[in-house]
C-alpha cells in the first residue's frame, strides 16, 4: 500500500503534441481514484506514466516516498489491468498469474499459495489449467484481475478494464471491482471514459479535458457542483441542459428569444445557465416564484422504463432541452409545457470561459 | 514500430549482427563488385584491368545477340505471365464456386508449387522428347513435327508450356485467397443487383481482385525473368547454341562460359536496374493493397 503523488506531470510527444499539461494529484493510501474524460484527454497517458510505460517529460511521480520517474515498470511495485486484458495466449491461466512472480524469483510454494488464493477470491479456480482462448470475456477479465492481485502490489492501475464486456457483465464486474478494492484496501487508479463507471467506483474523480484537470472531487460533489460546463455536460446522463442567457434589466432572457424568467443575481451581462434534466419540474401554469421558469414545446418522448425523457424546444426555435419525467406521465409531441427549477439547482457558468460562477 | 520499446545500448546490434554481416558480405559487396567491373575491361590472361567507362554497356546493348535474347525474354515473359495468370484465375474462380470437392481441387492444383524449376524442366524434356515424348506424338498427328533443341520456335514453345505449368499454383493460391477475402455480403449484394454471373464477375469480383492481380503481375514478371533459369538451362540441355535463352541465362553464359567479365557485369547492372523498378512498383502496389482492404 502506498500513496501516489503526481507533481506537475507533463507529457510532450514527438512533434510537440502536449498530451498532459502539468497535472498534480495527491492520492491517499487505499484511495480509489478514477481518471475520467473523453478520448484524447490524456487519461491513459497519465496512467501509463504512473506505470512506467511512458516516459515523463517533466514533473515527478512518487509512489510512497520514492520518486519513480526512472524506475523500470517491473520495479515500481504496481500491477496493471489492461483494456484487452493482455493475457499471454500460450500460457495457462495458472501460468498467466504466476509469470510475474516467477520472474521475481519467488519460491514455488509461495507462488502456488498466492495463485490459489487469487483464484479463490475471483472464483476462477476451475479454469487454472485452461488457456485464455477457452475462456469467456468475463472469465478473461477475472484472470486479468487475478494477475494484478497475486502480486500484492502497492497500487492497482486499471486501463478501461471493462470496455470490452457487454453491458450486463460490465455492471456485474463493476460491483465486483469495487468490492475487491474495498476488501483489499489497495490504492487504485482507474481510467475510463464512462461517466457512470467513474461515478460508481470512485472515492474521488479526476475529470480531465485536453490534458488538463477540470475538476477533482468526490463523485457527488462533482455532480452537485460541476466546476465548468465541460464537467457539467460530461458527468450525469442525460447531460445537463446548458442555455445561453443574457441579462434583461433585472431578469434573464434566453439568447435565442423568450421563454425564460428568473432573477439576475450575479450582476453580469451574460451567462451559461445549467439545469439537469432531473431538476426540471413540469408545472401546470407559468410559475412566478423564485428560480427559473421555462415555456417549451414537446418534440419527442423517450421512455426508458424507470423514467422517460422529454426532448423539447423553445417556441421560437433555438436550443433543445431535455426533461426527466415520470414514466407514467403523459405528453404528446407538439404539446406546450411549463417548467420550473429551484434556485439551488440552477448552475451559472461564465459565458466565455465556461467556469462556474457562484 | 511499437510505442513501447526496450532500450539497450548493444543488444539490438548484436541481434542484427548475423543478418547484417551476411547481407554485407554476400549481397552488397558482390553487387558493388558487379557495378565496378561493369566499367572495366578484364585482361583475358588475368593481367589486371582497364577502365573503359560505358563501353561495356554500349557493346552489350548494341550487340545483335543481346537484342535477340532481349526480344525473346520479352516474348517469353509476356506469354508466361498472361497464360499462367489467366489459367490460374479461371481455376481459382471455379474452385471458389464449387461446393463439392473444393478442398481436393485446391490440393491437386497447388502441389506443383513444390516442384523445383529444373525438375519441371526435366519433366518437360521427357514429355517433349523427340523419340519418347507423348506431346511430340500428339502434335505429330496434326502434322507438326516438333524438334526441341533444334527448332527455335518449338524449343520456345516447350519452355513456355513448362514455365506456365510451374507457375500456375502460386497464382492459383493467391487468387483463391483473394477471392475468399471478398466479403460474402458484397457478393450477395451483387447477386441481388445483377443477374448475369459473367457480368457480375467483371463488374464486381474482378475489380475487387485487381490489387491481387497487379501484385501477381509483378511476381510473375520477376519469375519469368529470374526463376525460370533452371527450366531454360535444362531444356536447352546445357547447349545453348542457337536455342532461345533469357537475359539472366546470358549473364551466366557470358560470365562463366564466355569469361567476359565486363560484359556479364554490365548485363547484371542492367538487370539490377530492372529489379529496382519492379520492386518500386511492387511496393507502391502493396501500399495500395493495404489501403484497399
Amino acid at each position: 500500500m502506498a500513496t501516489i503523488t503526481l507533481d506537475t506531470v507533463r507529457k510532450v510527444y514527438a512533434g510537440n503534441v502536449e498530451a498532459v499539461k502539468g497535472v498534480s494529484i495527491d492520492i491517499a493510501d487505499g484511495e480509489f481514484i478514477v481518471l475520467v474524460g473523453p478520448s484524447g484527454c490524456g487519461k491513459s497517458t497519465l496512467l501509463r506514466m504512473v506505470a512506467g510505460l511512458e516516459d515523463i517529460t517533466t514533473g515527478e511521480v512518487k509512489i510512497g516516498d520514492r520518486m519513480v520517474n526512472n524506475v523500470d515498470p517491473a520495479d515500481r511495485d504496481i500491477a496493471m489491468v489492461f483494456q484487452n486484458y493482455a493475457l499471454y495466449p500460450h500460457m495457462t491461466v495458472y501460468n498467466n498469474l504466476a509469470y510475474g512472480l516467477k520472474n521475481r524469483g519467488m519460491a514455488k510454494d509461495e507462488i502456488d499459495r498466492r495463485v490459489k488464493e487469487a483464484a479463490r477470491i475471483l472464483e476462477i479456480g476451475e479454469y487454472l489449467d485452461r488457456k485464455p482462448r477457452a475462456l469467456s470475456g468475463g472469465q478473461r477479465q477475472r484472470v486479468a484481475m487475478g494477475r494484478a492481485i497475486v502480486r500484492e502490489p502497492a497500487a492497482f492501475l486499471f486501463d478501461e478494464p471493462l470496455s470490452n464486456l457487454d453491458a450486463k457483465l460490465r455492471v456485474q464486474m463493476r460491483v465486483e471491482i469495487k468490492r475487491l478494492q474495498q476488501s483489499l484496501g489497495t490504492t487504485s487508479v482507474y481510467v475510463t471514459h464512462d461517466q457512470l463507471e467513474a461515478m460508481t467506483l470512485a472515492d474521488r474523480l479526476v475529470v480531465l479535458n485536453g490534458g488538463n484537470i477540470e475538476q477533482i472531487g468526490a463523485p457527488i460533489d462533482v455532480y452537485d457542483k460541476p466546476a465548468s460546463t465541460f464537467v457539467a455536460s460530461f458527468i450525469g446522463s442525460p447531460a445537463m441542459n446548458l442555455l445561453n442567457v443574457k441579462t434583461n434589466g433585472s431578469g434573464l432572457a434566453l439568447e435565442a428569444g423568450e421563454g425564460l424568467s428568473g432573477a439576475n443575481t450575479m450582476g453580469r451581462d451574460s451567462y451559461i445557465v445549467g439545469i439537469r434534466p432531473e431538476h426540471l419540474e413540469v408545472v401546470d401554469s407559468p410559475p412566478s416564484d423564485d428560480g427559473i421558469a421555462l415555456e417549451v414545446n414537446v418534440d419527442v418522448l423517450e421512455p426508458v422504463g424507470a423514467e422517460s425523457y422529454v426532448y423539447a424546444s423553445f417556441p421560437n426555435g433555438g436550443q433543445e432541452i431535455v426533461i426527466r419525467v415520470s414514466s407514467h406521465a403523459h405528453h404528446e409531441p407538439g404539446e406546450k409545457m411549463y417548467l420550473k427549477a429551484a434556485a439551488e439547482n440552477v448552475h451559472f457558468f461564465d459565458a466565455d470561459t465556461g467556469r462556474r460562477v457562484d | 514500430m511499437k510505442k513501447v520499446q526496450f532500450q539497450s545500448r548493444w543488444l539490438p546490434y548484436l541481434l542484427l549482427l548475423p543478418q547484417l554481416a551476411i547481407v554485407t558480405i554476400f549481397f552488397l559487396w558482390p553487387a558493388a563488385e558487379a557495378v565496378r567491373s561493369s566499367f572495366y575491361l578484364e585482361d583475358p590472361f588475368g593481367f589486371g584491368s582497364t577502365f573503359v567507362g560505358l563501353d561495356n554497356f554500349t557493346d552489350t546493348v548494341t550487340s545483335t545477340d543481346y537484342g535477340r535474347v532481349a526480344r525473346f525474354t520479352a516474348v517469353f515473359t509476356f506469354f508466361v505471365t498472361f497464360l499462367s495468370l489467366g489459367i490460374a484465375l479461371l481455376l481459382a474462380v471455379k474452385a471458389d464456386k464449387v461446393l463439392r470437392g473444393a478442398s481436393s481441387y485446391k490440393t491437386l492444383l497447388m502441389w506443383v508449387y513444390a516442384v523445383a524449376p529444373p525438375v519441371a524442366g526435366l519433366i518437360g524434356v521427357l514429355l517433349f522428347d523427340q523419340h519418347v515424348g507423348p506431346i511430340v506424338d500428339f502434335f505429330a498427328m496434326f502434322g507438326w513435327k516438333m524438334q526441341i533443341g533444334v527448332d527455335y520456335f518449338d524449343t520456345s514453345f516447350a519452355m513456355i508450356v513448362t514455365s506456365v505449368w510451374k507457375q500456375i499454383p502460386v497464382n492459383f493460391i493467391f487468387f483463391l485467397s483473394g477471392l475468399q477475402g471478398i466479403s460474402k455480403s458484397v457478393q450477395e449484394a451483387a447477386s441481388i443487383d445483377c443477374r448475369s454471373g459473367l457480368r457480375r464477375f467483371w463488374t464486381v469480383t474482378f475489380p475487387l481482385l485487381a490489387p491481387t492481380g497487379f501484385f501477381l503481375l509483378i511476381i510473375n514478371i520477376t519469375y519469368a525473368f529470374f526463376d525460370t533459369f533452371g527450366i531454360v538451362d535444362v531444356i536447352v540441355k546445357n547447349e545453348p547454341g542457337n536455342n532461345p535463352v533469357t537475359l539472366v541465362y546470358k549473364v551466366y553464359l557470358d560470365g562463366f562460359r564466355g569469361n567476359d567479365l565486363g560484359g556479364s557485369s554490365a548485363q547484371s547492372v542492367i538487370l539490377m536496374a530492372m529489379v529496382f523498378i519492379l520492386t518500386i512498383i511492387q511496393f507502391r502496389l502493396i501500399e495500395r493493397r493495404v489501403h484497399y482492404t
Partner: protein, 280 residues
C-alpha cells in the same frame, strides 16, 4: 444452376489433368526398364521395375565420377533444405526482433540495408558472388552452399509483419511482470510465433530444397550434389547416353519431387497462410 456446376467441374478437372499428368507420367515411366521406354515411349501405366529402378538410383553410384548415389544426393538436399530453413528463421527472427522491439540509433538504416537485398536477387550478381565465396574458401562446403542464401530480407519482413501485429499490451504486461528483452523473446514471443515459424519453415524448406543456380556454381564436388543440382548430371549421363535411361532419370526426378510436395500437401493450411501473408 446445376448445369453451371457441371461446367465448373469440367474446367477444374481439365486443370487438374494439366497439373497432375506430367508428374504421373514421370512416375509411371520410372517403373519400367530403359529399353521399354526407349522403344515404346513414355509409359502411362505402372511397370514392374519400381523397386529395381529406385534401388539402383538410390544406392548405386552413378554420375561422372561414380562417387555419388541418389541417397547421398537426398541427404545433401535434406541438409540444404533444413539448414537453409532453420538458419533463415533464426537469423531473421533475431533481426526482426531488434527492428520492432528496440529503440536505437540507425534502426532505420539497418532496416534499409536488409531491405536492399530484395533488389539484388542472386541472378544479377552471380559472378562476383561466386568469386567472393571462392576467395573465402567456401566453395564445395555446406556453409558456402547455405549461408549466402540465408540473408535475403523475405524472412525478416515476414517476422517483422507478424511482430507488429502482436498486441502492444503483451509487451507492457510482460514488462510489469518483470520480463527483460531476453525473457520476453523466449517466454512470450517465440511461443506466440509457433504457427508463423511453422509456415515460414515450410516455405523456406521448399525454397532451399529447390535451389539450382547457386548449388550449380558452388558445388563441383559430386559428393556435395543435391538432387536438384544433380539434374544437370542426370541430363548428361542418363538422358545423354546411347540408350537414354529415362526410367532412372525419372526415378531421380521423383525423389527430388516427393519430399517438398509431401510437406506442402500435409501442412497445406500453414503453407498457404505463410505464403499469402509473407508476400503482403
Amino acid at each position: 444452376m446445376k448445369k453451371i456446376q457441371i461446367w465448373d467441374h469440367v474446367i477444374l478437372l481439365a486443370g487438374v489433368f494439366f497439373m497432375v499428368t506430367p508428374v504421373v507420367l514421370t512416375l509411371m515411366t520410372s517403373t519400367h526398364d530403359a529399353i521399354t521406354v526407349y522403344k515404346e515411349g513414355v509409359q502411362f501405366l505402372p511397370g514392374g521395375k519400381f523397386l529395381e529402378n529406385y534401388e539402383t538410383v538410390l544406392f548405386q553410384a552413378g554420375g561422372f565420377t561414380k562417387e555419388v548415389d541418389g541417397f547421398v544426393m537426398l541427404k545433401n538436399s535434406m541438409i540444404l533444405g533444413f539448414g537453409f530453413a532453420i538458419g533463415k528463421i533464426i537469423i531473421s527472427m533475431l533481426a526482426a526482433y531488434a527492428i520492432v522491439y528496440f529503440r536505437f540509433p540507425m534502426a532505420s538504416l539497418c532496416f534499409w540495408v536488409i531491405f536492399a537485398t530484395l533488389l539484388l536477387p542472386l541472378e544479377v550478381r552471380i559472378l562476383p558472388s561466386y568469386e567472393i565465396v571462392q576467395s573465402l574458401g567456401m566453395v564445395n562446403t555446406y556453409s558456402g552452399l547455405i549461408v549466402p542464401l540465408i540473408a535475403s530480407a523475405t524472412g525478416t519482413f515476414f517476422f517483422r509483419q507478424f511482430f507488429m501485429s502482436v498486441p502492444e499490451e503483451l509487451l507492457e504486461a510482460a514488462r510489469i511482470d518483470g520480463a527483460g528483452p531476453w525473457k520476453f523473446f523466449k517466454d512470450i514471443l517465440v511461443p506466440l510465433s509457433q504457427t508463423m515459424i511453422a509456415a515460414i519453415f515450410i516455405i523456406m524448406f521448399v525454397y532451399g530444397w529447390n535451389q539450382y543456380l547457386w548449388p550449380t556454381l558452388i558445388t563441383t564436388d559430386e559428393s556435395l550434389f543435391t538432387l536438384v543440382r544433380g539434374i544437370k548430371q542426370i541430363l548428361q549421363v542418363w538422358v545423354g547416353a546411347q540408350i537414354p535411361a529415362f526410367n532412372e532419370a525419372m526415378a531421380l526426378a521423383i525423389l527430388a519431387i516427393v519430399p517438398p510436395v509431401l510437406i506442402v500437401v500435409v501442412f497445406q493450411s500453414w503453407f498457404v497462410k505463410g505464403l499469402v501473408e509473407s508476400d503482403k
